[in-house]
Homo-oligomer: 325 residues x 2
DNA sequence: TTGTAGGCGTTATCAT
DNA sequence: ATGATAACGCCTACAA
C-alpha cells in the first residue's frame, strides 16, 4: 500500500510538497513534474479516509431514496450521478424502503462519514433534517416538499393533476376517475386536488366514488382499477397519478374486453410490455430533476449558493402514447 | 459536534474506556453504565472516518452494477442490502453504465475509502480485480463470471437457455428463434448455446437466421423482434434471453395482428403493462442472488471463508404467465 | 517556494 | 480493568 511518504521519498521532496501538487497549490514546475512522475510510477492515489478526516468532509454525496426499484428514482439517480461525477464527487445510493427509521439510519451515516452533502427524497413526515442543517451540511430535498428551510426541487403536483385531467377533458371524457396514493402522502393528495380542480373548473362533479386512494404501487393500481371497472357506473376515463399505479391500471385494463376506459398517467413507463398509443402520458423527466438537484447541491457544497430555494421542476406537455424509454 | 473526549469527560473516564464500551470490550459494569448514560445524553455517535482510518476499513460495502435502471439489478441490490444491514454494514451503490473506466473509477474509490468489501457485476473483460485481491480486500463477483480467483455467484446460463427452450419445445413449437445479447457478452452467448443445445438434442436445426444478437436492452428486443416477424419464414416461438430484450420483444408482439408467436423470456417483468398469461417466464430471482452474494461477502470480511468458491444460483421451473412482480 | 510538525477522532498497545 | 499515548494518512499553519 503506497502512501504519500513513499511518493515524497521517490520524488526527493517532502510530503507537504506532494500534497501541494495533488491539490494544485503553487509548486515549482520541476518539482511538480518529479512528483507527478513518482505518482504515476507508484500508481499512488490518496487515501480518502485520511483526507476526509483531515478536511472534515469526504468526496461522497448520499442520495437517499425511498424505493430504488421504482424506475422514477433510478432515473433520478442517473441524473444526480452525471452531475456529481463531473464535479469530482461520487454518489452513494441509499434505499430507505419508505421507512423513517432506515432513513434516519442512512442520514446519520452520511453525517458520521462526513459526506459532502445529501440529496434526499423524504419518507414520512418532515423535521428529520434538523440535525444535518444545524451542522451546516449541504442538503437538497427532491420530489417531496418539507417544511425545513433547505433547497428543494419539486414538481407543482396540483398543476400536474390539473393538466393531466384537462387532457382527458379535452378528449371529450366527462366521467373521469382518479387513482392516487394514500391519504397521508402529500404529493398524492396534491395531484388529486388538481384532478378535482380541473373537473370543478369544467363545471363537472368530482364525486368521492371516482377518487380511489391506492397504495401507490403496482398492485395498488391493479386493485383500484378492478374496483373502478366493477362499479355500477364505471368511468370512461381514469387518471393514474404516478407511474406504478399507472402500470397496475394499464395491466388490468389490458385484460378488459369491450369498451375500454381512456387512461391518463402522470409518469413514465420505460418497461411497458405493450403498445400504449391510446394512453395519455404526462412525462416527468426525473433525470432532469436529478440534474437540477445535484447542481444545487454542488453549488451549496462549494459555498456558492445563497439562501435556500425551492425550484419547481418543469414538466412537459401531455403526450398521447409513449415513445419507448 | 460531540467527540469521544466529550463523552469521556462527562462520564469521568478516559477516552480509551469509552472506546471499549462502544466496542464491547471488557469494562466494569458501573463505568460502562456511566459511559452509556453520557453517550445518550450527548447523542454521541462515533466519527466513522476516524474509525475507519484507524481500523483500516470502513463499515461500507460497494455494490458495483452495470445498469442501475435494470430491474434485475435493483432487485439484486435489495437482496444485498437486506443481508448487509443485519451485519451492520451499509451498502454503497455504484453505477458503471457498462463502462470499464467508470468501473475502474468506482473500484478505486472503494479501495481508497477503505471499504470493507465489494460486490461487483463486472462490465467488460476480466482481470480488473487484481489490485483489490492483491490487497486482500473482500470481493464477490455476481452474475457474470470472471477468470480471477474470487468468490462468484452465477447462474448456469447454458442450462437456463436449454430449459427455457425445452419449455417451448414441450409446447409443440419447432421453429424457435433466439434473441440474445452481443457476441462479446459471455452470458448472452452461454444462453444462446443452451438454446442451440436444446434444439440439437431434439433433432432440430438451429439455423443462423433464427439467432439474433441484439443489444440486450429494450430497443434491441424491439428491433430483433421486428426483424424476425418480417422474415420470409417467421418463427412460431421466440426465446428472449434477458428481461430487457423480453420487454422489447413483447412490446412488438403486442402490436402484431394475426397468429402470434409464442414468447419465452429468461427473466422477470415486474412492470409489465399487459397480462402475459401466454408467455413463458423463466424467473431468475435476482434478490436471492443478492442475498447469497452478500452472505458470502460478509463471511469473507469476517475471515470465516475458506478458498474462493463459485456458487451456482438455482433458478425455478419455467412458468407460464407471470404473477405480478 | 519548501520543509517541519501538529492535529483531525478513533482504536490499540503498553503500562499500571 | 483502566489510563496515557502512539499511530492510522493526510493537509496546512508556521517557520525558514
Amino acid at each position: 500500500m503506497t502512501r504519500i511518504k513513499d511518493v515524497a521519498a521517490l520524488a526527493g521532496v517532502s510530503t507537504a510538497t506532494v500534497s501541494r501538487v495533488l491539490n494544485d497549490k503553487t509548486v515549482s514546475p520541476d518539482l511538480a513534474a518529479a512528483v507527478r512522475r513518482a505518482v504515476t510510477e507508484l500508481g499512488y492515489t490518496p487515501n480518502r479516509t485520511a483526507r476526509s478526516l483531515r478536511r472534515q468532509h469526504s468526496e461522497l454525496i448520499a442520495l437517499v431514496l425511498p424505493d430504488i426499484e421504482n424506475p422514477f428514482f433510478t432515473s433520478l439517480a442517473r441524473g444526480v450521478e452525471d452531475v456529481a461525477r463531473t464535479a469530482g464527487l461520487s454518489v452513494v445510493l441509499c434505499n430507505t424502503d419508505e421507512d423513517v427509521e432506515t432513513q434516519e439510519h442512512y442520514l446519520r451515516i452520511a453525517d458520521d462519514e462526513n459526506m459532502a452533502g445529501v440529496i434526499v427524497a423524504p419518507a414520512g413526515p418532515s423535521g428529520f433534517l434538523a440535525r444535518l442543517t444545524e451542522r451546516h451540511r449541504a442538503v437538497v430535498v427532491v420530489d417531496r416538499a418539507v417544511a425545513d428551510d433547505v433547497d428543494q426541487v419539486l414538481f407543482d403536483n396540483e398543476d400536474l393533476g390539473r393538466r393531466a385531467t384537462q387532457a382527458l377533458l379535452d378528449r371529450g371524457h366527462r366521467r373521469i376517475a382518479c387513482v392516487t396514493g394514500p391519504r397521508e402522502t402529500p404529493t398524492a393528495e396534491a395531484r388529486a386536488d388538481g384532478w378535482r380542480a380541473a373537473l370543478t373548473a369544467a363545471g363537472l362533479p368530482a364525486p368521492d366514488d371516482l377518487l380511489v386512494h391506492a397504495n401507490y404501487r403496482v398492485d395498488g393500481g391493479e386493485a383500484a382499477m378492478t374496483r373502478l371497472l366493477a362499479a355500477a357506473e364505471p368511468p370512461d376515463a381514469v387518471l393514474a397519478t404516478n407511474n406504478l399505479v399507472g402500470v397496475g391500471a394499464l395491466r388490468m385494463l389490458s385484460a378488459e374486453r369491450g369498451p375500454r376506459a381512456q387512461l391518463g398517467i402522470i409518469g413514465d413507463l420505460p418497461f411497458a410490455t405493450s403498445h400504449i398509443d391510446d394512453t395519455f402520458l404526462l412525462r416527468l423527466h426525473p433525470r432532469e430533476m436529478g440534474l437540477t438537484a445535484a447542481r444545487l447541491l454542488v453549488s451549496r457544497i462549494r459555498g456558492e449558493a445563497g439562501p435556500a430555494q425551492r425550484v419547481v421542476q418543469p414538466s412537459r406537455p401531455v403526450l398521447l402514447g409513449a415513445s419507448p424509454s
